[in-house]
């Protein structure tokens, strides 16, 4: 075979017909649509349904950004960071501080200025969260690899310390925030009103998802992460220092949590030092539903949780928290390892 033919074969492979393709599991994705569809008759009005659905999807996107790092870290290194919430809070506070310094930009009615300010805030939050994440891994997590009990305790301790340090730096009382001017208000689709900021959040979430999927599926780095989640030993036997990879993923996960924290605090119109602990529960539910270690599962889980929270918040406000637990229980009874179980060593 000539070299040209060979290289073609390398990149495209033989005729598509003869290859067993992996059956992509669409069912969990369909669940999102099913949930939305189920809610529609219960809610009654289409416009309210649209508002709630967008709100739910937006919330889901932000939760996904926050939780994605956590699930990858667990899948790759079997480490569960119970203190992940501290990066969320940190990101929120850093973001808020940055935004507070830019009143001209956030107060301007020009959309691009608002977005630029937000992007700057998110970048700063990412950077600080990444740095703290690196420290966290080095000082707290590294010494307790493989010891789950100690991991749980130490990362909780890390969260307590982090929360207190936030109080030291920014004060113990919650801070409130006004949305940047151009992102306030709603966009109307006929009867339905959709908040501008939620659309923005969805957009950012989609970008992050796209970037993650691209990295994971099309780059060698992503390949390493996916392979490492499956069989850490083999990846090391192939000559890759998976420890460095893990630190990288941990730091990236912390950065993402920081970014998500900024978005979340803008979403909630404020931040408090305890917000990390509060969001923690939610993201744990999300990654359990999605399957520990699966990015796509995390995404679907986050959307489901976001939708559920908004629908029940409207329909049965008293049962809001329970609805997520019920969702988790239901998913686990159907697939005990989560929506997209990760085939593990």
């Amino acid at each position: 075979m000539s070299t040209v033919a060979a290289s073609t074969a390398v990149s495209t492979g033989p005729s598509a017909a003869s290859i067993p393709k992996s059956q992509f599991d669409f069912i969990p994705l369909l669940l999102v649509a099913v949930l939305a569809a189920l809610a529609w008759p219960l809610i009654g009005s289409s416009s309210t349904w649209l508002t709630l659905t967008v709100a739910g999807l937006a919330m889901g996107m932000i939760v996904f950004i926050i939780a994605s790092g956590l699930t990858l870290v667990f899948g790759l290194m079997d480490v569960l960071n119970f203190g992940h919430g501290v990066f969320i809070a940190l990101g929120a506070y850093v973001g808020l501080s940055v935004l507070a310094q830019m009143p001209l930009w956030t107060g301007s009615s020009e959309l691009w200025r608002n977005v630029a300010a937000l992007l700057l805030a998110m970048t700063a939050a990412c950077a600080v969260a990444a740095a703290v994440g690196w420290l966290f891994e080095r000082v707290l997590v590294r010494p307790v690899y493989g010891q789950h009990l100690k991991q749980i305790l130490i990362t909780m301790g890390g969260m307590i310390i982090g929360e207190e340090l936030i109080k030291v730096i920014w004060g113990p009382t919650p801070v409130s925030l006004e949305l940047p001017v151009a992102l306030r208000g709603v966009v109307t689709f006929g009867d339905a009103a959709v908040e501008r900021f939620r659309l923005f959040a969805m957009f950012i979430g989609a970008l992050v998802l796209a970037a993650m999927l691209f990295t994971l599926n099309r780059t060698k780095l992503g390949l390493l992460v996916r392979a490492g989640v499956q069989d850490r030993e083999m990846v090391e036997s192939l000559g890759y220092r998976i420890r460095r990879l893990f630190v990288g993923v941990f730091v990236a996960g912390s950065a993402l949590a920081g970014m998500g924290g900024t978005l979340w605090s803008v979403f909630q119109h404020g931040a408090s030092p305890q917000m990390g602990a509060q969001v923690n529960v939610l993201i744990f539910i999300v990654i359990i539903i999605g399957g520990l270690g699966s990015t796509l599962g995390c995404f679907v889980g986050a959307l489901l949780v976001g939708l559920m929270a908004n629908y029940t918040g409207f329909l049965f406000p008293k049962a809001a928290m329970f609805s997520n637990i019920a969702l988790m229980a239901a998913v686990l009874m159907w697939r005990p390892q989560g929506l997209y179980p990760v085939a593990n060593r």
Binding site: L153, I160, F284
Partner: protein, 355 residues
């Protein structure tokens, strides 16, 4: 005789023994030695925490299970008594019903949690209990007709325990003999009995199997012990003791609300105490709770003194501010997990060899 009372689980350290004796005597004689309502409240809180933390030690220290749902059972006990006294009036039968109902609820819940979640990995279990506890907290706030919502329930206790009930007209040795004193000693006796009971349990064959499971559950299963059964039992027992602690709390405070018994802060406090005190010792819970509640109640005053030193210095004054004592506790906790896995008790026992 002392040996049998302590179920052959002696302190094994001169210092620890002295400390324990001091604690028991101190608590028993608080009304006489430390005058004032604050001291009495602090002592009562210590006793409640001793039972609560010891019950958590049964789960974490002896069985190796991390559960964040522990305060849920604490809350069930407290609410049980509170709701019963509110709905049925402040009588002894009401208290009895409240305690019985709370125990039954805890039994059911802990069995359910045990069976459902213990089939999964430890991490899963920890996360699920966290979620369940949060749900329960919000439930308690939501069902305001029953639980008084965010404001909680203020209620009267049976006449014998009320502060207004005087048994002796004049104070005896500095303490007023009223219903409050009686309640205090009720707590004291209960705490003593419950701790001794827990010592009996962990030193029984059942307790040894728990330790074996904690060390190596595969081996335990291979030898023939059905670990799921033992773990569930441990869950249930620990929940029941926590529930009783909650009942005691409610009787003392004559009030219960979501923050008093269900808050995540309390869960964290319990976790911190158990680790710093010494996991798997029961005595660690005793010593740790006393130190913690003491610090929580009085350290802030002490810190106020030293905060004056750093007055005005931007970050340092905040770091040493009495409100930030949790920061130092958190650091101590992390250090304890790394360097003193056996906690204060372990340290004291290790010292014995050198003393």
């Amino acid at each position: 005789m002392l040996n049998r009372l302590l179920s052959h689980d002696l302190p094994r350290s001169r210092w620890l023994a002295l400390l324990l004796i001091a604690i028991v005597l101190g608590l028993a004689l608080t009304p006489f030695i430390f005058p004032g309502t604050k001291a009495l409240n602090v002592a009562a809180k210590m006793m409640v925490f001793i039972v609560l933390v010891a019950s958590f030690d049964l789960l974490l220290g002896y069985t190796g299970i991390v559960s964040f749902a522990h305060t849920m059972f604490f809350g069930i006990g407290a609410y049980g008594v509170a709701i019963a006294c509110t709905q049925m009036g402040p009588t002894w039968p009401a208290v009895g019903v409240g305690i019985a109902a709370a125990l039954a609820a805890s039994l059911a819940l802990s069995t359910l949690i045990g069976l459902f979640s213990l089939r999964v990995k430890a991490i899963f279990f920890a996360m699920i209990t966290l979620a369940v506890a949060s749900a329960f907290l919000s439930l308690a706030s939501q069902l305001s007709d029953l639980t008084g919502g965010e404001d909680g329930l203020n209620f009267k206790v049976p006449e014998a325990l009320r502060p207004s009930t005087m048994y002796l007209d004049a104070p005896f040795l500095g303490a007023a003999f009223d219903g409050r004193l009686l309640t205090f000693y009720l707590l004291f006796i209960a705490t003593l009995l419950l701790v001794l009971l827990m010592l009996r349990i962990v030193n029984s064959p059942f307790g040894r199997v728990l330790l074996a499971i904690r060390e190596n559950d595969f081996r335990a299963e291979a030898i023939g012990y059905r670990t799921v059964v033992y773990r569930t039992l441990s869950n249930v027992l620990s929940a029941l003791f926590a529930t009783l602690a909650g009942c005691l709390l409610a009787l003392w405070l004559r009030y219960n609300g979501p923050d008093t018994s269900l808050s995540f802060e309390i869960m964290l406090d319990v976790l911190l105490i158990v680790v710093i005190g010494g996991m798997g010792t029961i005595y660690g819970a005793v010593v740790g709770s006393v130190l913690f509640v003491l610090a929580q109640s009085y350290l802030q005053d002490v810190m106020k003194l030293s905060a004056g030193v750093f007055e005005g210095v931007p970050v340092l004054s905040q770091l040493t501010s009495p409100d930030r004592w949790m920061l130092w506790l958190g650091i101590l906790f992390v250090l304890a997990v790394y360097h003193f896995p056996a906690g204060v008790v372990g340290r004291l026992r290790a010292m014995k060899n050198r003393v």
